[in-house]
Symmetry: C2
């Protein structure tokens, strides 16, 4: 599994929010946006905003802030979101479907060009303009299409087996929405997405709120 | 909006993974689990694991590691996951449905007891054992049920209006899956969930992989 410096992770996680705000500023015709405004919008400290954005190589100008257009380009280039990336979705239940239909991804260059499911009732018809194929065709189709990125939303029990097949077929990056801790070769990128993480954050903030009111 | 120390966030986000591993250890009958094993499982540094778990107040024993049962209790108590929390889902599209059906939440004490949707085709029947009501009934029902927590998965354009209604009806915590930066009173907890954040992490790791291969 490819590792990254853990200390970078929170900054990287916040980059999409900065990108959204920068794009909104562009829409309203602003040439600059101040770090303080960004910080207010996102409920962060201004110093945090400066540190986060510094990883993309951009720096603000005193009194004016960040130039909007270069800010957008810096974030997109840093995340490789200025290029198209094709991906497949494995498992087209509610979560897989939600991801396929999420409008944000296409704006970030991510295109779902096919999906796979074991359930014959779900295959055959297109979903959000992408064909849904039977799982039995996964290996051949991934190889033929030369796809490198897969989103995994199968049940826990099928997660490792699906990941093994994806890797064998040439997939290099797995966005894992299952709870399974996947075992993969060292050169495979795995991003584990755990919906419980967000709930942990919500729970923690509720606790802080209660303590403050107590 | 209730603030928390930003430096805590990554640790809190990782707590559910520690909890899962601790529960797996309990199932296999282990009395202790070492921080090193946990670190290996999660692809983290052992020092990071110790720091993360320290926020719950638990500490490991030299040579033996963390006592499994107290570890589980420490994490659950810290997150308030040892108590039942009732919540509603506003917007029952693919994402709202996926969240309602996600098995992990109930294990963490989170129960979706009702959902709301503007689409008459989606209301009336139960979804994952919870009734789906028309949005027009939101205000009265939230007040009657005394619900404090809401998951928001409506389209961007309806997000702020929905949040305003939720707050007026007495909701104190909003788990926001829309892209909208909600404006709420100071005493309201908002946890913004952005699926793009995970994609940013995946993109970043792919970049590191490419640089290593180059």
């Amino acid at each position: 599994m490819v590792k990254m410096k853990v200390s970078y992770a929170p900054s990287v996680r916040r980059l999409p929010s900065y990108l959204l705000i920068a794009k909104q500023a562009r829409e309203t015709g602003d040439e600059y946006i101040s770090g303080t405004i960004i910080a207010q919008e996102l409920n962060l400290e201004p110093i945090q905003v400066r540190k986060d954005l510094a990883i993309t190589g951009i720096s603000g100008k005193p009194k004016r802030g960040y130039p909007v257009e270069p800010l957008i380009h810096a974030i997109e280039a840093y995340l490789n979101w200025d290029k198209r990336v094709d991906a497949i979705v494995v498992g087209t239940g509610n979560l897989g479907s939600a991801l396929m239909g999420f409008p944000g991804f296409r704006q970030h260059g991510l295109h779902f060009i096919a999906a796979f499911d074991v359930d014959p009732a779900k295959t055959g018809a297109d979903k959000f303009d992408a064909p849904v194929y039977p799982m039995s065709e996964l290996d051949d189709r991934v190889r033929e299409m030369g796809i490198l990125v897969a989103v995994l939303t199968v049940p826990f029990a099928n997660a490792q087996e699906s990941a093994d097949r994806l890797v064998a077929a040439g997939i290099k990056a797995i966005w894992n929405f299952t709870n399974a801790k996947l075992k993969t070769p060292d050169d495979i990128v795995v991003q584990n997405e755990d919906l419980s993480s967000g709930y942990a954050m919500l729970s923690m903030k509720c606790r802080i709120r209660r303590e403050r009111l107590a």
